[in-house]
């Protein structure tokens, strides 16, 4: 009996799961400075609601642009920055609470928990004012790979672009693959640590153990304490806002206050007296480099298409015969030959579900057997 389909047995189909990682390098020049038209950064999208800023890898009006991350700031009611008289105070409170609600959750009384410096929600210091970097799913895919995150941030005086700063710290999730937390409703997260990488005596604690924020791997969100731009004597904002920079440093001259202004504002002044977008602009200028690896969870089904020696040796290709005579044979005792270029995977009702193509024809005759391994990823 002639046939052209072969049914899979249970031994011919196997399912597997693979984790794929891609390196995602983001240079500071893309985040700030590459795409400028006059005074406008064309790859930065600000919204009329003013609650966050979107960063693209190309002018966002172009269809070629990809969204890479959003940036915003916020503080909670426990922060001394919170004051109804401050600029966009309600929005800054709302943003903090929204992020905390999603990433930290609620306590047993239903109150939104604050971001905790070390992940121990029952005690210890809280991050009451924060910078949020929300990376797009295009970059993070299923999750950020633990232990791969690195952010180089300029913390020196002045308002130049990050690359020209002589004082930089590197923020990493060092050893997070072995040391991460699971008490967040948004999945795994770990603590971010800062270390001086350019310049000396930058940090009050320069041992590499200085906690500066949290990274939520599944959510693709980085939460940085605003203390990274404050020195350790900044006590007037309350204990939680004591800076991490060495006492020899002054509060970073965070950004220029208004067009044409010659003076600079510190971070507390900017967070309280300026719009969210202005703070976002200043933070972006201080980003020198971001890199991480993303993770894609690949679920695969592998189909082993086995062609035995006595199978698939003839073809229904119209060129296979000439006046019904098989072209690759001279006499009937010659071996039939066929050439495989395509594998078709069918449902039981003969509908073509998937197609696989070989990069070159494979010769099939009664003297050989072939197993073609077709993998479908989901």
């Amino acid at each position: 009996m002639a046939s052209s389909y072969k049914t899979f047995s249970t031994n011919d189909v196997v399912s597997t799961k693979t984790l794929l990682h891609e390196a995602i390098p983001l240079t500071g020049t893309v985040v700030s400075g590459t795409y400028v038209d006059g005074a406008t950064e064309t790859n930065i999208k600000n919204y009329s609601h003013g609650m966050f800023q979107s960063v693209y890898d190309y002018p966002y009006l172009s269809s070629s642009a990809n969204h890479i991350f959003d940036i915003t700031i916020g503080y909670n009611a426990g922060s001394k920055m919170s004051n109804p008289a401050h600029t966009q105070n309600a929005k800054k409170l709302n943003l903090y609470n929204q992020m905390a609600q999603v990433l930290v959750g609620h306590d047993s009384d239903g109150n939104i928990r604050a971001f905790d410096e070390d992940g121990n929600l029952t005690e210890g210091s809280k991050i009451n004012s924060a910078i949020f970097l929300n990376f797009s799913r295009l970059l993070t895919k299923d999750e950020i790979k633990k232990g791969s995150f690195s952010l180089v941030m300029a913390v020196g005086q002045g308002h130049e672009k990050a690359a020209s700063h002589t004082e930089q710290i590197t923020i990493t999730d060092d050893n997070a693959q072995n040391d991460y937390r699971v008490n967040s409703p948004a999945g795994d997260y770990a603590i971010l640590y800062a270390d001086s990488t350019k310049g000396s005596d930058l940090l009050a604690d320069d041992s590499g153990d200085q906690k500066v924020g949290l990274i939520y791997y599944h959510a693709g969100v980085v939460v940085l304490t605003s203390s990274i731009f404050l020195d350790e004597n900044t006590g007037d904002l309350g204990g939680a806002h004591v800076g991490i920079l060495d006492t020899l440093k002054h509060d970073v001259e965070f950004f220029r206050a208004g067009a044409g202004a010659t003076g600079y504002e510190s971070l507390p002044e900017a967070f309280t007296g300026s719009a969210i977008s202005s703070s976002c602009d200043a933070i972006r200028q201080r980003i020198s480099n971001i890199s991480f690896n993303n993770t894609t969870e690949l679920n695969s089904t592998i189909y082993f298409c086995r062609a035995q020696h006595n199978e698939f040796n003839y073809s229904s290709n119209p060129t296979y015969t000439s006046s019904s005579k098989i072209q690759v044979k001279n006499i009937s005792s010659d071996s039939p030959i066929s050439y495989i270029t395509t594998v078709g995977l069918y449902s039981s009702d003969n509908e073509l579900m998937a197609v696989a193509k070989l990069s070159e024809p494979l010769k099939k005759d009664p003297t050989n057997e072939l197993t073609l391994r077709v993998r479908l990823d989901y």
Binding site: S316, K325, Q327, T341, L352
Partner: protein, 322 residues
Amino acid sequence: MGFLDNSGDILLDAVLTDTGRMRLAKGDGSFKIAKFCLADDEINYGLYDKTHASGSAYYDLEILQTPVMEAFTNNASSVKHRLISISRTNLLYLPVIKLNTNGDRADHSCGVHGASTVHVVAVDSDTETGLSATDTTAGIGVLPGETITNEDSCILVEEGLDTTEISFSYAIDSDLNESQYIVEMDNRLGSLISFTGTSVTVSYIDDDNIASYYLSSTTHGTTMINSLGTTAIDGCSIAGPRGTSLKFKVKASLELNTSQYLFEQVGDTLYYLNTLATATATTGYAEGTNEYRVIDSNIRITGATTGASINVPIRYAKKVKS
């Protein structure tokens, strides 16, 4: 689609078809891969050079260098020519499916339309009258698409070994005898009906509006599939041992019957005059001149057992002006 890189290791480029993705999206369990086939769509076996001066190692040199295109996601465009498993290795002849265009075939009017050289489906009664569809002499090759009767023309394909090396009086081997056919056609244009005018249940209509009809000799009987036997048949297109024949008609779709929309969208831009004998780019002929619009399409017939296949060209015609 581009060609696959064939400079190094052999790669396998796999994609889900549009139908596969549709079933996956349904989430009702209908996406289940149960079987596979192998195919050789790109191969031209005419390049197999059995007389190559350098010996047998060079016979298939050109075939093995055939560049292979990336996989199509359109299920209707892929896996056209399947490889066949036959346990015997001593076959020298394989069956083919041939369109019988002999107008004098003993018991059927199955010739093609003279001016069009293909089968023509008259999509409404006006067109049937204009093309003399019910006249098996004047309207040879014209299938009435609206008023189906038992006497009309049909499309006839025959399966067997089309060779003069073996006499038709020899019975075809049982494993080469086709008993099931798959007919695929554009469901927007028409549907399959039996020779006697009975509707045939469509098995499946895919996302590209290609309807598939699965026909077997056991369920569709002698009104569609017949054994050709070993005795002489006038006008038979198969020269050697014969398997079966498949005959059918086409009923025009309601849309073709009642509207010119598809003729404008996928039809020929030319207007055909006087029994489709001449074509012109413009309309506006004087009253009394028959004027038609046409859509050219294909009906694909595949033998489910042997894998042999044929594309039957078909022309849907609609009279748009008297």
